[in-house]
Symmetry: C2
Subunit: 134 residues, 2 copies
DNA sequence: CTGGCTGCAAATCTTTTGCATCCTG
DNA sequence: CAGGATGCAAAAGATTTGCAGCCAG
């Protein structure tokens, strides 16, 4: 795919498969999710390649690592600034595209240089709500 | 300590040691930090007891589990609502005690019931700034 | 006394690493 | 054709679990 040439890294078939899986993906998958999905087309795919590719993409700023799920890292190919809402039961994550004004005065930052911020919203998704009722 | 009786769970010496370690602690320690600190007074302390106690405290709402550090869970005995600023280099976490208005319209939440939110600020702490310069 | 807690070790899960081989640029 | 990427397996960390014995209430 031409659109990936800009990335400036070797475009192996495995990486292309991961990029295709990411394309338009809003699921915030874990490394294992990616491994399982891409293994279907690449039976020899290894975790080393998944993590290696994620690391490469992360260094280029094409993927974000999410720490919102306590059990494992999740990855987000949508690099536009945005926030997340996570279901506390099933851990499903959806995007919140909205800007918030969350400035902090210097006396609160104890000499830190600020780089950015990310808001985690917590909630219960519709599916888990209905399960809870039954 | 009388103040802990309210917790309504067995006050073993090990748990008391963990509670004392937590008392006023602003370090946001990991399970391993807790284990190492409390092991000094309790050489037989085990990880099982640390995790067991953390789980019990968490269920009572006396400790928060932070997911902000990608490498491990961190724990916060300060249960007043507040936010965090993390150094992206050394992972030091400091508290941000300020309220922000971050309401989300219903059309963004896709049917989720909202429970709460938490803001992660990213930055570089003074110590890591000076190391970077040298 | 008794049920919950402790401590140890083994197991699990996620992520990382070493290294020989492969293949993109 | 060289250097980076792959795949496998082993290793490293973090967290969980099984279970026999212990002790706070």
């Amino acid at each position: 795919m031409e659109k990936y040439k800009q990335f400036g890294f070797k475009l192996t078939p495995q990486r292309l498969a991961i990029l295709n899986y990411f394309n338009g993906n809003k699921e915030h998958p874990s490394a294992d999710d990616i491994y399982r999905a891409v293994s279907k087309s690449f039976p020899t795919m290894s975790f080393a390649t998944v993590y290696n590719t994620l690391e490469a993409l992360r260094n280029k700023g094409n993927v974000l690592e999410l720490t919102i799920d306590p059990n494992k890292k999740r990855y987000d190919p949508n690099t536009m600034p945005h926030h997340h809402l996570i279901c506390v039961k099933c851990k499903r994550i959806i995007d919140i595209h909205k800007e918030f004004s969350v400035s902090v005065s210097e006396d609160m930052t104890q000499g830190f240089d600020l780089i950015g911020n990310h808001i985690e919203f917590y909630g219960v998704c519709p599916k888990c709500k209905s399960i809870a009722l039954s």
